[in-house]
Symmetry: C2
Subunit: 325 residues, 2 copies
């Protein structure tokens, strides 16, 4: 089986590459070829599979056609810029988050030889816009209030139509906040949900720009990779016409996140969080959906963590080699 990952140099792309390399197979089929693309060079893993690394912008002329020329069986389309960047740079956001998928769909359709891959697309809960009910169910309408959310919602619609038309199989996964993000902060306004855990564990101070009572839904990077892999095993029959799904996660307040950190790492660590309210971040976060009823995804076997404690432990295992700083 030939697997293609777009956005392979990004956080989720790297974790997915590691997992597929470790597993050596996807839903029972051995992976004998792995193609990694991104706008920057992705690191090629050591693996028995033949690995190709392509540094390209999917939206550039001919790029998508070149990467589907070797007929990957499964495509994980993870490429894209984050919400803050898409809002700051209108052109870059549309090019990366919309034109890339458009080019990929067009390239797949243009092969004209019966090529029919499975495409798993990372959407986002940013497709939702307020006002919200207390719990957002699978039938809540999409009225995004950011360019990022708009781009993801458009991609969902295009993916669903291409699946319906029999051009490919696929699923779009609305990811909750991915917590704890490792490494340096990116431009997402949601960054503090991760940094208030990651930085204190690393012995550094973290700034909390919102109230303790802010409610949000989280899944670990490991869970996100699990979602992608699980989706690659679902058929069109499993999914029906609605191929875009809200993923499950752990819904908790910031206070509950901090309490979990204290339980796991002690008072000294959790005391490294400094409260410094930021009106702009508070306003952005207020506009986000908080809690989901991911009934369809759960019914289809997608699984997230059960507690924020578990999310912290996964961060400690996967990013800190088991050590609590």
């Amino acid at each position: 089986m030939h697997v293609l990952i777009t956005g392979a140099a990004g956080m989720i792309g790297r974790r997915l590459t590691e997992r597929l390399t470790r597993d050596g197979a996807l839903h029972g089929a051995a992976i004998d070829r792995l193609t990694l693309t991104d706008v920057v060079a992705a690191a090629a893993p050591s693996t028995a599979a033949r690995v190709g690394v392509a540094t390209c912008d999917l939206a550039a002329p001919g790029a998508a056609a070149r990467i589907v020329a070797d007929r990957p069986d499964v495509i994980f389309h993870v490429a894209g810029v984050v919400s803050g960047e898409a809002e700051l740079d209108f052109d870059k956001g549309y090019r990366s988050n919309l034109d890339g998928l458009l080019a990929l769909l067009q390239a797949i359709r243009s092969t004209g030889d019966g090529y029919h891959p499975r495409l798993v697309f990372t959407s986002s809960c940013a497709v939702y816009g307020g006002p919200y009910p207390d719990v957002i169910g699978d039938h809540f309408h999409l009225t995004p209030l950011t360019s990022y959310g708009t781009q993801k919602a458009v991609c969902e619609l295009l993916l669903a139509d291409h699946v319906r038309r029999g051009i490919l199989d696929g699923a779009g996964l609305r990811l909750p906040a991915i917590t704890v993000r490792p490494g340096a902060a990116n431009k997402a306004a949601s960054g503090f949900f991760s940094s208030i855990i990651r930085e204190p564990l690393a012995g550094r101070e973290a700034v909390l720009p919102v109230d303790d009572g802010v409610l949000h839904t989280h899944a670990s990077p490991r869970a996100a990779v699990g979602f992608l892999i699980h989706a690659a095993g679902l058929s069109r029959h499993d999914l029906g016409d609605r191929v875009n799904l809200t993923m499950p996660g752990v819904c908790c307040t910031v206070a509950e996140q901090i309490a979990a950190l204290r339980r796991i790492a002690g008072d000294k660590v959790s005391a490294r969080i400094r409260r410094e309210p930021d009106a702009m971040v508070m306003r952005i976060v207020d506009g986000w959906p908080h809690r989901f009823d991911a009934a369809r995804a759960l019914g289809l076997g997608f699984a997230a963590e059960r507690s924020f404690d578990e999310i912290i432990r996964i961060h400690i295992d996967d990013d800190r080699g088991g050590s609590v700083g």
Copy 2:
């Protein structure tokens, strides 16, 4: 004021041109220039305004930039192919119904000189996909089950984001079935809703391919033009972030349509409807939404007919010079 109509050679485009020519003004501003574009040549009306006719495909390179070069103040974007055609010809549908608007938005944004037109876009109730509640309210989610509906839903999202970003003002109007369509049938599977009225009134037999009990929502071509003009007078403040609106209409069964025809034109005319069930048309029509609660549009002052009798009388006035055949 300079007004641009795309799709000006189509049925709605022609009616809108006639209405604007007759009015000579739009919301109190005199129309001194009118630009008509379509892929076929639109007829130039006799009017005091300076009229330009441009035969072009909006999605062709440079076409959209050329038509916004003269900075139309109001753009009625009515261009597009109908549902049946978009389903039969994947490329043509996406090119006409999606790439055209993408090019227009890009051209407007690229002017870079503070140009900020108002754009009124004709969407469709095909943005909805089943299963449906009995009545579809303003907050029902969009899960289109046709390429046409997908293209319209994508355009709605793009329009909303461009309005939110301050690039233009605008509104998307989800039109119900436009009945009675004059002239020859087009490729829409909904054609019979019009032909069972139009053909008997013209002394010809009409075929009814569905059951009498089929429920559908209708507005006249005159009402559709009224929606477009009304929308051009609404500000961003009126519309808020949700700039796409389901338009009102008359919800009735086919039996009620026929009863209205009989009341207005007599038994001899209504007897010209021949029942010839068509399983494919029935299946398509079954998948459509039937009834809407267009509360937001009604609250914003959009008005449709109050009965199907009124819709037939408008057809007799506007298309038959008042004569009942």
